[in-house]
Amino acid sequence: MNRIKSPEEMESLIQQIIQERGRSEKIQITLCGGTGCHAYNCQMVIDAFEQGIEKGNLSERVGIKVTGCHGFCERGVLVVIKPSGVFYQQVKPEDVPEILSAVISGEIVERLLYRDLNTKSKITHEEDVPFYKKQTRFIFGHNGEIDPTRIEDYIAIKGYAALGKVLSGMPPEQIIEEIKKSGLRGRGGGGFPTGIKWETTRKAPGEPRYVICNADEGDPGAYMDGSLLEGNPHLVMEGMIIGAYAIGSSLGYVYVRNEYPLAVKNVETAIEQARGYGLLGRDIMGSGFDFDIKVVRGGGAFVCGESTALFASIEGRIGEPRAKYIRSAERGLWDKPTNLNNVETWANVPLIINKGADWYAKIGTENSKGTKIFSLVGKINNTGLVEVPMGITLREIVNDIGGGIPKKRRFKAVQTGGPSGGCIPEDFLDTPVDFDELTKVGSMMGSGGMIVMDDHTCMVDIARYFLEFLKNESCGKCVPCREGVWQMHNILSEICSGNGKESDLDLLMEIGETITAAALCGLGTTAPNPVMSTLRYFRDEYESHIKDKRCPSGACKELVTFIIDVEKCNGCGVCKKNCPQGAIIGEKKETHTLDGNKCTKCGICFEDCPFGAVMVR
């Protein structure tokens, strides 16, 4: 590896790699190796491909490439044949020989193709799958093309061209102006204009300055930052280098959750490789600009996603936030000017530099520009990561991209913004997704978690769930959050177990308002949101828990009973055999009965009954 000594050398390296790749006639089998597919055991599929290629002596004609997350996690392990673009889903190791022979003969393995949920027709190519079709994948789309452990793959998609452009004569002020003009807002949840943040840090007195990439994605149910970092670390790093140049910083940190081992590994490899090419370190591209990046692993504390708590954690202290009388842009890490942005924000920077602020500003709504990656999870057919332009409606995301609710159940709500966000009911499904509109309906953009709930999800239980999370994760520094959230959680637990009082609802509102007014950090002030938004839209559910001692969704264990439907039960005996309590009685081929006194509501019979005869009331 030779160090790149000038922006011109960078440009010629890009051209050289693109030409080399263009000449190769090898068929590439790309496999998703993201965390989701790892969980599907994609390593075994990779091994099978490697063995198959070796056995068949195909290494001249076929290559395999393990990429980052493609986004369609529901259907993993995902395999895409390039250049034809044939898309196979749910690939198992035993399917590999068939795929390999089809690849050689130019055929298609019909049974592994994706089947459209509505029309039931089979879809051959990746770009035609409805899940991908409706998306605008500027940032996330490259994940499927590159092996994150090889910098050349990133350079082949014109990676580091934006850095070359910047270093060949864009003064820092002009970069900041460009970012401001693009209208890019922080993707971590706050939505603060990125350009203004950069400018403040640049102008703040004090040396050195730091840039930080916040990859401490603590929101449960959100995993796009981790996937982006593990699937395309160079994109994020290129953004950071450009940002550091604009701000005048020579040291950056990536603060990443330790629960994302693959992201940690890939970003560390990427840093090494970038150093090898002289894209990090001293005198980058001969411009005299020095910059390096260090990786810091988080310790599993949600509050460390908050900027000041994150600084404390990098400094090797307990991750507690401080009051922000002075912005962290002025006094952040080690009390020096610090610019902290989310993974996705950094990833947008090269795009803006390459294509220009005017192009970028055309995407999205008036005050929210560009695209946003959401992790669409929960009770939805197509779980996965979706990148959509700002301004798309929730309905389009849930129905068209997400493919609706499984088992034809009814949609109830979508939760956005993680523990600081709120639940949006069906009436507001046509709300355009952008920073301001989501805030208007009582939720927030947040970092991009989007959890879909159906009529079997109890909203009181969801509120309790989030408060339990926040109670455990409260750092304990300020009283409103430490004690207030604890009390709210207690009240909700009582309601969920049928001991709620009518006065509880007012009390919840009152404590919630106090926490919002008085807590120290952003996570504290937004902590009551899950309760406030569900109280606003689903007050009737709270009331039936309190007045009728009933959980309408059948989710609160203390308030439900399991019953066997006499009409449907044909006495197959599966439930009787599997019940750990011996609570089910009945002769074979006769209707069974469930003894409510013995039942511990473990749910096995409900899951196992082949006829759906076990009901939750």
Binding site: G36, E217, R297, G299, F302, E315, T383, I462
Partner: protein, 301 residues
């Protein structure tokens, strides 16, 4: 309050807690014996500068109580002595105390200080005592030193150092935490502060297989709670505990980022997705079987 109290009370430990208890008891009329293993009552509080939460000066709180306790007619100080045996039951205890020799006549000594000044052998000052250096077994010392040296013994990497130690030992052994504190020159309290604040750390040894149940929102709405209940029932331990045979530890994690597979559990880097209550038992078996096989393979190699 009646004055004819019967019996006497033995308070063990002459720190601020013991002193205050003795004073309160003595005030209500009990005869109090205050036992302290050091040559003088005073305890740790005298080593502190300020106290939580009021930021009061520690000595200002403590010293009047010292004087009171020393002069109280109902309190008898037994210093430089330790409890050897205790017999009997509430209301009727018999204790045996070993008093260390002072080699100075306590009746006559007024604490004038002349002998201390004139003694030719210098004793290290009482409050400057250093905690004894912890000696680790050679193997452990090697491992710990490698980890600390990887980070150039810089205290700012305390979190990373603890993470690496945990990945070697599966938990944070207390001896090693002491060594870390000494080598990085960071107070032990700070090391423990970090170790107890971040949820990723465990101070107790964990089982061979740490089962992490994902409690992310996506998993929650798909029934992660039921899975956790089922694991609790099968393993007979609560989350955060370890089975007696040290095979399994049960823990929860906020989100593993594998939401499509929810509810998901992960154990020693192996993921089990789309869990159901009825598959819990089978999964545990699979885990032990594959574990045994892996052990056998390692042995063969």
């Amino acid at each position: 309050m009646s004055n004819n109290k019967t019996g006497a009370v033995l308070v063990i430990g002459g720190g601020i807690g013991g002193i205050q208890a003795s004073l309160d008891l003595a005030e209500t009329g009990f005869k109090v014996y205050l036992l302290e293993k050091e040559p003088a009552i005073v305890g740790r509080m005298s080593q502190l500068d300020k106290t939580f939460p009021t930021n009061d000066c520690a000595m200002c709180t403590l010293s009047p109580k010292l004087v009171d306790a020393a002069g109280h007619p109902n309190i008898e100080l037994i210093t430089y002595a330790e409890l050897e045996k205790i017999k009997g039951e509430a209301g009727n205890f018999k204790v045996q105390i070993v008093k260390h020799p002072r080699f100075v006549d306590e009746e006559k000594c007024t604490g004038c200080g002349i002998c201390t000044n004139n003694c030719m052998v210098q004793n290290k000052a009482y409050f400057n005592r250093q905690p004894a250096m912890i000696e680790l077994a050679a193997e452990d010392a090697g491992k710990v030193n490698t980890i600390i040296n990887n980070y150039h013994s810089q205290p700012e990497f305390l979190l990373a150092i603890l993470q690496d130690i945990q990945s070697v030992y599966n938990y944070l052994p207390s001896d090693i935490l002491r060594v870390v504190s000494q080598q990085l020159n960071v107070p032990l309290s700070k090391v423990y502060g970090i170790a107890t604040y971040y949820t990723a750390f465990s101070l107790k040894p964990r089982g061979k297989y740490v089962i992490n149940v994902c409690m992310g929102t996506a998993c929650h709405v798909r029934g992660a709670g039921m899975i956790l209940d089922a694991l609790t029932r099968h393993l007979e331990i609560a989350p955060g505990e370890t089975t007696k045979d040290m095979m399994f530890s049960l823990e929860t994690v906020n989100c593993l980022g594998a939401c499509a597979l929810g509810p998901v559990i992960v154990s020693n880097d192996k993921y089990f997705g789309k869990m159901t209550v009825s598959r819990v038992e089978e999964t545990l078996e699979k885990l032990t079987v594959s574990a045994n096989r892996r052990d056998a393979e390692t042995l063969r190699r």
